[in-house]
């Protein structure tokens, strides 16, 4: 079994998921996640050598669409839903780093 999840793990995961947790939440979530992961110890212990993973329950493949333009949505309708827009674009606070 993997080592139990720590508050440091939970803090790291919260950062990856772009969530802020108070110290109290951090403790509470750590305990709760640990309980769920402890329940999952039954499958962790299972010998699954040679068993392929299932990502899709359905055995279908090659679902393809023709390369034909279809009308999209109206820009004004979409921008009206945006928290902030400017010059036909979505406005966001400053970006500190380049895309990965």
């Amino acid at each position: 079994m993997a080592t139990p999840i720590s508050t440091a793990d939970v803090a790291h995961v919260a950062r990856l998921a772009r969530l802020a947790l108070s110290d109290e939440e951090l403790d509470q979530f750590t305990g709760q996640l640990a309980a769920v992961l402890a329940h999952a110890a039954d499958i962790e212990a299972l010998d699954t050598a040679g068993v392929p993973p299932t990502a899709h329950a359905l055995p279908i493949h090659n679902v393809l669409r023709d390369d034909v333009v279809v009308a999209g949505v109206d820009r004004e309708e979409v921008l009206a839903q945006a928290p902030a827009a400017e010059s036909g674009r979505f406005r966001v606070p400053r970006i500190l780093g380049e895309a990965p």
């Binding site: 990856l16 772009r18 990502a55 899709h56 359905l58 279908i60 493949h61 090659n62 679902v63 393809l64 669409r65 023709d66 390369d67 034909v68 333009v69 279809v70 009308a71 999209g72 949505v73 820009r75 979409v78 921008l79 400017e86 010059s87 036909g88 674009r89 979505f90 406005r91 966001v92 606070p93 400053r94 970006i95 780093g97 380049e98 895309a99 990965p100």
Partner: protein, 474 residues
């Protein structure tokens, strides 16, 4: 250690946009330069509840690319690459991860060296941010504005193996790859418009070492020239660092065209963990044998094959400049037509790479048979090289019959005995120079040829004239 004791190891990742009518997973137009956010829909905006459906033509283009790069085309899956960034509408990119559609191929450089291709996989492009503020750049911007017209445009990412050894190598590789991509019809290969983007993994090691050094990934090169410069700068930076006893840390670095330097893009504690997992909204692609074969059969000849054919016709090396030029400028069909009509391949390639290449916009209207005729006339000395160039120029400008053009210019090629008479006359009139030439002083030949040219009013075949001069020497 001196610079020459170090070896650079370079592997390139090239992203190319595909020339489909629509985006990868939705029916929005794949079109550069439109008003912001006008080619968008619930899918490419990542609206809640929307789902992707794969574009068949994008898959076909990917298969074309894989086939042209001698890859194995195989059943593949899409994964999600998770990271937060405003130009990524779903905050994950749908990409291929451990099972790409194309794996394990190679690209031959013009000189014959092979560069390994690890994979060429399908993925979606991101949107584009504009940074608002005094600098207009990301740093120091006040805020940014996002346009999703490009979000979801199909890309193929071609991951090359670290087989390149210099900035020049890298430029030649990208140049060749671009030519191949354009030849497949899958890409327009425009680096300036961003439809072809190159990232470079650069490391250095002592020459002869087997292990690879720590590599840095360099981004933001937007021309072949900056690619070469960035690589050379980065290698020098790493060598200097190592020679000073430092170590290279694996990181992504940003090339600044203005300063000619690379710099760290982000701090290490912000390391990414992409949490790849199979995309549950899409099903596997399993291209049939027939599909793969049909795509391969429909591919036109690739630039390398075309260069080989030109080289064979011209009896030159495949990476000889005129051969490369003729193929790059798509003049090889003219060449092959001329050769089929009886022209000399070597001479035809020379005329194509020089005269025809320099008025390329007229080349499309050049009649191959007329071109072949000019080359033939020159080959059998019915025209001197200078005359042939003049006739060709007229032909490019206004078409017509080469013989008639030559006649109109008064280009009556000299009969061989007339030329011989002229040679003898010049020898008689310039005994001093002739003595020296006959005595082995080759540099006087130019003087004598000049006299022959003058004596024949420019109509002499100068190559034949010098052969005659040398013949009379012994």
């Amino acid at each position: 250690m001196s610079r020459s004791e170090w070896e650079m190891v370079i592997g390139l990742e090239v992203h190319t946009e595909l020339r489909t009518a629509t985006k990868l997973f939705c029916g929005c137009a794949n079109h550069f330069g439109d008003e912001p956010n006008t080619n968008v829909c619930p899918v490419c905006l990542g609206l809640p509840g929307s789902l992707p459906v794969l574009n068949r033509t994008a898959v076909e283009y990917a298969i074309r690319i894989g086939t042209a790069l001698h890859c194995t085309v195989q059943p593949s899956l899409f994964h999600r690459k998770n990271y937060f960034y405003p130009d990524m509408p779903k905050d994950y990119q749908i990409s291929q991860y451990d099972v790409p559609i194309n794996a394990d191929g190679w690209l031959a450089l013009p000189d014959g060296r092979r560069v390994g291709i690890e994979r060429a996989h399908i993925e979606e492009d991101t949107g584009k941010s504009t940074h608002v503020g005094e600098s207009g750049r990301i740093h120091g911007a006040d805020h940014s504005l996002v346009d999703y017209n490009r979000a979801g445009v199909p890309l193929v990412e071609i991951v090359g193996r670290p087989d390149l050894r210099s900035g020049d190598d890298a430029r030649i590789y990208v140049d060749e790859l671009r030519a191949i991509l354009v030849a497949t019809g899958a890409s327009d290969g425009k680096m300036e418009e961003g439809s072809l983007r190159v990232d470079a993994n650069v490391s250095v090691r002592p020459r002869g070492a087997a292990d690879l050094g720590t590599r840095c990934e360099i981004k933001n090169m937007n021309s072949l020239r900056s690619l070469g410069r960035a690589i050379e700068y980065e290698a020098t930076r790493q060598i200097t660092l190592l020679e000073e006893g430092g170590t290279v840390s694996q990181e992504t670095r940003h090339w600044d065209e203005g300063t000619g330097r690379t710099s760290t893009m982000r701090s290490k504690e912000d390391a990414y963990d992409y949490r790849y997992f199979p995309e549950p909204d899409l099903v596997p692609i399993v291209p049939s044998e027939e599909w793969i074969r049909a795509v391969a059969d429909a591919l036109p000849p690739m630039p390398g094959d075309r260069r080989s054919a030109v080289a064979a016709a011209a009896k030159l090396a495949p990476d000889a400049d005129p051969v490369v030029t003729v193929v790059r400028l798509d003049l090889d069909s003219l060449l092959h037509a001329a050769v089929a009509a009886g022209a000399d391949g070597g001479l035809a390639v020379k005329r194509l790479a020089n005269e025809v290449a320099s008025s390329l916009e007229r080349a499309a209207v050049l009649d191959p048979v007329a071109f072949a005729t000019v080359v033939q006339m020159e080959s059998r000395s019915a025209l001197t090289p200078a005359q042939a160039r003049t006739v060709l120029k007229d032909l490019l400008e206004g078409g017509g019959d080469p013989a008639a053009i030559a006649k109109a210019h008064g280009f009556e090629a000299m009969a061989s005995d007339a030329l011989a008479d002229a040679v003898d006359q010049v020898i008689a009139e310039n005994p001093g120079e002739w003595e020296r030439f006959a005595g082995g002083e080759d540099k006087v030949q130019g003087f004598l040829i000049g006299k022959i040219k003058a004596a024949t009013g420019g109509n002499a075949d100068l190559k034949e004239a010098s052969a005659l001069l040398r013949g009379r020497r012994s």
